[in-house]
């Protein structure tokens, strides 16, 4: 193992254990499928010590990785029996996730190198959000009870004949959310009433309402009511 002078660079704070491992592997130019595990483990632990001495909070993730590396190192020391053909190299435990992480890192770099909208390339009307932001003075945020009132209005509109119908394959709340998201993706905002088409069956109406509630809980939509007209609108956040 080579002795190295320890240089402290402040711009070199690692985001996570994988980041640190990638740094060590690149620095020593080692093959990820043939990691000199003793050396890398040693270096890794030195970094942890250094980070602790610099008063950087070493998160639990770093400790878990240290334990994994140490475990692999000790496994490597055990003799391999000839008859155990299916025994894989213990280093694969770390090589596989590393390979995947490096692949995603390269994917991220390639994405960043594209002609980003608003960065390298521009479309007309780039500031739609600013235009929308200027129009918010006349609306107020809506409480749950107003929403339930509005829902009851819609339930009243459903003809009584529908009340006994049993829907064989009704749509799930989850699927309805996905449908609603599609609507919002294309429209930005929808009125509450539009979500409930006139001929809708009661079960559908209820599923839609549950979907709206769930979406509010997940902060997917913002619900507002216009002061004068009383129209309730849902905005996709």
């Amino acid at each position: 193992m080579q002795e190295e002078a320890y240089q402290v660079k402040l711009d070199n704070i690692f985001e996570g254990p994988m980041d640190l491992l990638v740094h060590l592997i690149k620095k020593h130019e080692v093959d990820i499928y043939d990691i000199p595990i003793a050396m890398i483990t040693d270096q890794y632990l030195k970094y942890l010590q250094w980070m602790e001495s610099m008063n950087i909070d070493v998160a639990g993730d770093f400790i878990v990785m240290a334990a994994t590396l140490t475990q692999i190192k000790s496994k490597m020391l055990l003799p391999i029996h000839e008859n155990e053909d299916d025994q894989e190299d213990p280093r694969l435990q770390i090589a596989r996730p590393l390979a995947e992480y490096l692949q995603m890192k390269s994917a991220a770099e390639r994405l960043a190198a594209r002609d980003l909208l608003g960065e390298n390339i521009f479309a007309r009307n780039p500031d739609q959000e600013e235009l929308l932001a200027g129009r918010q003075d006349e609306i107020l945020k809506l409480g749950l009870f107003e929403l339930i009132d509005a829902f009851q209005q819609i339930l009243k509109k459903i003809s009584p004949d529908d009340k006994v119908r049993i829907a064989a394959d009704s749509i799930s709340v989850k699927n309805r959310i996905s449908q609603l998201v599609d609507i919002f993706e294309s429209r930005e905002s929808v009125t509450f009433e539009e979500l409930f088409p006139a001929g809708a069956v009661k079960s559908e109406v209820i599923v839609t309402f549950l979907a709206v509630l769930e979406m509010v809980r997940l902060s997917l939509v913002r619900i507002v009511q216009h002061v004068q007209t009383g129209v309730i609108r849902l905005f996709y956040i």
């Binding site: 890192k105 991220a108 980003l116 959310i177």
Partner: protein, 180 residues
């Protein structure tokens, strides 16, 4: 033929978002999409030959007139807009969702080895990713996927247009060559 080309050009000029061939077809009341495709190709070629301030790009399943990247500095002087500026961590998270979607948080954190909660929230706010629902496994985690906005921002036709990530071979021998 000439006519259609310029009608389409005018539609592209006023449209705020990428225009799909389908939409153009409806506006024109035309049955034949072949002519529309030809007109779009012809327009793209014209802009390319002219090397002017804009070009025609195929993004998010539609077509959009966009400024030529070379002139970005000038446009930035015109419109003061906070740029996208995604951190390395945010880009990695976004890449994982883009390539592995539909993805749940633990998939992402498994690959990156760190907590991604804050980054996911930020990506949701910027509408680069969306929630598809919940996975029916213990804890019912949220399922994430990328949005149309993501395609628009990263100048991608569709998800198949994503660049192929590097194979890891550049970093060493492949699996099969490993000694037993």
């Amino acid at each position: 033929m000439e006519d259609i080309k310029y009608i389409i050009e005018s539609l592209l000029f006023v449209s705020e978002s990428p225009l799909t061939v389908n939409r153009i077809q409806k506006v024109l009341g035309h049955d034949d999409t072949k002519e529309i495709h030809e007109a779009l190709t012809a327009l793209a070629a014209e802009y390319e030959a002219r090397k002017g301030g804009f070009l025609l790009r195929e993004v998010a399943g539609g077509y959009q007139i966009r400024s030529r990247p070379e002139y970005r500095e000038w446009i930035k002087r015109l419109i003061q807009r906070t740029p996208l500026r995604l951190s390395k961590a945010a880009l990695e998270t976004l890449a994982i969702i883009a390539y592995k979607q539909p993805a749940i948080r633990s998939d992402i954190e498994h690959i990156r080895g760190v907590d991604c909660g804050g980054i996911l929230r930020m990506l949701l706010e910027r509408k680069l990713i969306r929630i598809l629902g919940r996975k029916q496994i213990p804890g019912r985690p949220l399922i994430y996927s990328t949005t149309k906005q993501f395609l628009e921002v990263f100048d991608l036709k569709d998800l198949k247009d994503l660049p192929t990530p590097d194979e890891i071979e550049s970093l060493g021998n492949s699996f099969s060559e490993m000694p037993d």
